[in-house]
Amino acid sequence: MKKYRQTEFPHIHTSECEALLVSPDELSAYIDKELPAWKRHLIRRHLKKCEVCADHVQLLQQTDRFLRHAGSVEVSDDFLSGVMARVSESALQQRQHDSLRSRVARFVETSLGWTQHLSTLMGNLRYSIRTRSPVYIFILTFAVFTMVGVTLYPPSGDKLVEKSHELELNAEKLISFEVIQPEPPKRLLTTYLQGK
């Protein structure tokens, strides 16, 4: 079995190589087609002339080709379904989380709204009390006195009943003694003239 030559990769060895290749890394980039077209062209031309660099590139390409044959593993049949099941589960959780978050946000918004309303109302009330305090004090005092008066001197129920009864009787009397006086008939013009 022919072995790789047990040498190091050659470094830049001539002035031409030095002028062309800034570093030996360039040759790796060359085989990976990672250099600009003009540089690739220059290196290709150089490789035709320089045996050491050509050998170097060949060895790099061999290593690369060999590595590419390292084989690959096959994905199991249930891999996709497994991933999608986990993804669906995650999407569902995300949706629930989002809905919960939006519900909390809505609740906070509403409660903040209510708080705002309440604070506005309280502010208005405070303002109106401050500006119209004499009127409120008068109304309050009046209400208090009325309440006290009503409590101390309650209107008696019998007197009211009697009074209402009396009123009813008077009304009956008025109705029974009402005399309807007929109006005298109007005399016609002809009768008036005849009488004259």
Binding site: A70, V87, S90
Partner: protein, 200 residues
Amino acid sequence: MFVSDEDLMMKCRKGDIAAFELLVRRYQNPLINYIHRSIDDYHRSEDLSQETFLRVFKSASRYEPTASFRSWLYTIATNLCRNEIRNRSRRNTCFLEDLVEEGEDVYHSEIMRDTRYLPDILLEKKEQRQMIRKALAQLPENQRVALTLVTYQDLRYEEVAEIIGCSVGAIKALIHRARQKMKKLLIKAGIGEENVSEEI
């Protein structure tokens, strides 16, 4: 009609699960292989791939089409792999290399040469693959990630730079060093040019 990954992601952002399923179908194979090459454990790589896709879905709302979807996906996967490797070292997980006696060649140990139940050719190929995986595992982390992404996932240097978080120049150097080291390791493992040509 081909829909780009970024368009699918934008649909997914609006809650389109079918678009996400299409993305999973596109990337399930390369992603599992990438993670498998990084952590060298099939079952864990499936778990981590699922986790990667789930994270992509969960953060879809934050996705901006300015970034390439591919590099974003591999960034998440790379971070998960790094965590896994860190946790393993914390748990002192035993690697194959640890089972081999000191001074003995890893690639020619009894464990690797258990050929009882496999036909020769299959075994040879399997051995080679194992050697490559083990050689990859011996690379420093950034070199391994860069080389794996360029060689197996066909990512551009710019994308790899985005994933690792360094400049394109640094990626060039990382990949070159990784290839040099891989070559040394493969020579050490006794893999020659003929094997390479046979494989091809």
